[in-house]
């Protein structure tokens, strides 16, 4: 993907006029290669060179956008095979299937769950992203009605699923303004589907029987001017689908193989009849390279674990999510309210503050700067120890806010209580429960 300075140099005017801000074209090329300059800084670069450079610097896996507005979903753009190498960027989109042969009740249930199943975690809202609306009957009118219903009742993204261009057109007529993903162009219908994608400016999924067929299709479509493509390799067994995901990602990243340089869509809903297994298959695609997964349904017990998996796999491995240190007031505490202390790992903070809130006992929560490490990890790393916690407590100003002299520490950090008492002078250190789930019961018993 990335060109070397020398390769770029060959495309520049080589006049060394210096207008770009550096004395020579070579120096400018080096800056470009290091991403320290913009090509636009050279007024003399040819159009030809511009396209070539843009082409060469395009990401190996294209970023495709589905939907509009706040809930626009971005997929693709990945640059690594393993998350520790750099971070996976655009989380797998989670789609729920509705078909025109489902009962009204089944459709309504899915619409309702799509809306209500949302979870707050570490300050983020976790939820499903898309509806996959599928025509089984082949009836354009029915399809149009279902798409209309889905569109009117959700602001989520939409995938239109039918291989019949006529039926697809009926769906697009209703929701093209929402930039749905068209699923799918096949060997048989590629031309009319491509025409529809072009006409409405919508991304197009390509479904082939194996990667050779997919490559032929994507090549043909890109030559026809379409760039926003999504790949379905056609595999519907677990092993084959897993392998295809690996091949596609590797082809794009290791071989710069353009025909496969697109995000993927996987269909666990077509791979099993067992709902639990289906959810598990979806989690495999979250870890191994799925751009979108289409599920036959979502339930609280299936969606929540899947969202956690997605959050875990797509967090930045280099930088833990942290909360700023300081005093947090929960439920309007006063001078007699309990004081608790914890680490600034976001996960820890949100879990602990959630439990304090649930207890309905107003309290002060002091967050110590542990550089984003959890309590036990920070303790083991020497960042949640007596003197550090003591100094943060003193500096926080909490001692002026309460009349009592008691602080509750996490049960897992019991070992620091002696040192902490020493650091704090006349304050009493209370060892709280180990698991945060026991905080409510503990706080209800707490007396100043």
């Amino acid at each position: 993907m990335a060109l070397t300075g020398i390769q770029i140099y060959k495309l520049l005017p080589k006049t060394n006029c210096g207008e770009c801000g550096v004395p020579t074209c070579l120096a400018f090329a080096m800056s470009l290669a290091a991403a320290k300059a913009e090509l636009a800084a050279c007024p003399y670069v040819s159009e030809e060179a511009k396209t070539e450079l843009a082409d060469a610097s395009a990401p190996p896996i294209r970023v495709v956008e589905i939907g509009t507005g706040e809930r626009k979903l971005k997929i693709g753009g990945e640059t690594v095979l393993f998350r520790h190498e750099k971070t996976f960027i655009n989380p797998t989109g989670i789609a729920v299937l509705v078909t025109d042969e489902m009962s009204d009740e089944d459709v309504a249930g899915r619409l309702e769950r799509f809306k209500t199943l949302e979870y707050e975690r570490v300050g983020l809202t976790l939820r499903a992203d898309l509806f996959a609306v599928k025509s089984l009957s082949g009836d354009a009118g029915k399809f149009e009605a279902l798409v209309t219903k889905v569109k009117s009742q959700t602001d989520g993204g939409i995938i239109l699923m039918t291989e019949d261009p006529g039926v697809m057109e009926a769906g697009l007529k209703v929701c093209a303004d929402r930039k749905p993903l068209i699923f799918a162009a096949t060997k048989e219908n590629a031309e009319p589907m491509a025409a529809l994608a072009k006409e409405h400016g919508c991304p197009l999924a390509v479904k082939g029987d194996g990667l050779d067929e997919v490559s032929e299709l994507t090549t043909k479509l890109t030559e026809g001017g379409l760039t926003d493509l999504v790949i379905d390799s056609g595999a519907r067994t677990i092993r084959k689908a897993f392998e295809d995901q690996v091949f596609i990602r590797r082809g794009a990243l290791l071989k710069k193989y353009k025909p496969l340089g697109f995000p993927t869509i996987a269909l666990p809903c077509e791979m099993t009849d067992d709902f639990m297994q289906e959810t598990l298959i979806a989690s495999m695609f979250v870890a191994k390279y799925g751009g979108i997964v289409v599920l036959s349904d979502i339930q609280g017990h299936s969606l929540f674990p899947l969202l956690l998996a997605r959050m875990n796999i797509y967090t930045d491995p280099q930088r833990p999510m942290a909360t700023s240190p300081g005093i947090y007031e929960i439920g309007g505490p006063n001078e007699d309210s309990p004081v608790l202390v914890t680490s600034n790992f976001s996960l820890t903070y949100f879990i602990v503050s959630g439990e304090i809130e649930a207890s309905r006992v107003p309290a002060w929560l002091i967050i110590v700067d542990t550089e984003g490490l959890s309590v036990l990890t920070a303790w083991a790393a020497g960042k949640f120890v007596g003197d550090i916690v003591g100094i943060s407590l003193k500096k926080s100003g909490i001692m002026e806010k309460v009349r009592h002299k008691k602080v509750v520490i996490p049960g897992y950090a019991a070992a620091i209580s002696g040192d902490l008492e020493e650091e704090l002078g006349d304050w009493e250190v209370l060892v709280g429960p180990r698991e945060s789930a026991h905080i409510p019961a503990y706080l209800k018993e707490w007396k100043a």
Binding site: T116, T237, I313
Partner: protein
């Protein structure tokens, strides 16, 4: 034209480690490729699942996890038998949770007794897991190693601070060691070197990278395992070429979301299915990262994951 599959060339292999008594041996490891990348290497020995049993009746388990074992939780031997007979357990992991000084603080004698009973009740390989307290594990696991000589146990966690005592006991009484380090590839390698220096033969070492459950630190463990496999298979890092064990069930089932009832958390659906999926998904992600032995709890989760292993290994 045709798309040519980009293959990775490996220059290392995971060692094959035999577990349990000769009459009922299970061997793990042997991979010559990344997990389930069977198009470019082999996994001659599919991953195995060990079912856990506890040395004392669990007190804080949610109903979902307790229900399948309600009739046997007071008796680890009966519990282990049920796992094998009713759920086809390939191995058993006896968790000595009650030896924890912060819990019931039961004695080494009691732990030995529980281990002997369980060992006598089953034929499959037996993993015996301490409470994680350095002093107590040294005392308890050492006694178990001595008194259960000939049982070919897998003893864990063996940490840097306990490796000398427990390593020596494992050599003397012929047990296998689960070398445990906190989510750090360099520490893992270091401990394997130390065990080697002590004279523990390679075929008696399994690696425990430490795991966290889904939503509670899983991602760190997942990546350490991937890096571990990368070093072992593509960088010829000989001291990392060991099978990986993931003691995951206790991490999964202790978290709040695994414990909430249907009424307490209407948005989290059916509590049993939720717990099962939390466990199965944690297990699956660790399999994809390189797990060879998974310590699991719920029979439904185990069944799902076993099926998945077959699907990934099959055609």
């Amino acid at each position: 034209m045709g798309f040519e599959i980009p293959k990775i060339s490996y220059n290392g292999a995971i060692k094959e480690i035999p577990l349990g008594k000769e009459s009922n041996r299970i061997t793990v490891g042997g991979e010559t490729c990344y997990p389930f990348h069977l198009f470019e290497g082999n996994m001659p020995l599919p991953p195995k699942i060990a079912m856990e049993v506890y040395d004392a009746t669990p007190e804080e388990w949610p109903q979902a996890a307790l229900a399948p074992f309600a009739d046997v939780v007071h008796d680890p031997a009966a519990w282990a038998q049920k796992c094998v007979a009713s759920y086809g357990a390939e191995m058993i992991a006896l968790q000595l949770a009650s030896t924890d000084p912060n819990a019931q603080n039961t004695t080494a004698e009691q732990a030995v007794e529980a281990t002997k009973k369980v060992a006598a009740a089953i034929e499959v390989p037996l993993i015996v897991w301490g409470c994680g307290n350095v002093e107590k594990d040294t005392e308890v696991l050492k006694r178990i190693a001595e008194e259960c000589a000939g049982e070919n146990l897998i003893l864990g966690p063996v940490e840097e601070d306990t490796h000398k005592a427990l390593g020596a006991a494992a050599i003397a009484y012929q047990h296998t060691i689960a070398a445990s380090t906190p989510i750090d590839i360099n520490l893992a390698k270091q401990l394997n070197i130390l065990l080697g220096n002590l004279g523990v033969p390679d075929e008696r070492i399994i690696v425990d990278p430490t795991v966290g459950g889904l939503g509670y630190g899983l991602e760190y463990c997942y990546s350490v395992m991937e890096r571990d496999r990368m070093a072992a298979l593509t960088q010829e890092d000989e001291r990392l070429q060991f099978p990986i064990l993931c003691n995951l069930a206790k991490e999964v089932w202790k978290v709040k979301e695994a414990k909430l009832s249907d009424e307490e958390a209407p948005l989290l659906g059916d509590s049993t299915k939720r717990g099962v999926l939390l466990e199965a998904m944690t297990a699956l992600l660790f399999l994809l990262a390189g797990g060879d032995i998974l310590i699991m709890r719920h029979p439904d989760a185990i069944q799902l994951v076993k099926g998945f292993i077959n699907d990934l290994m099959g055609s």
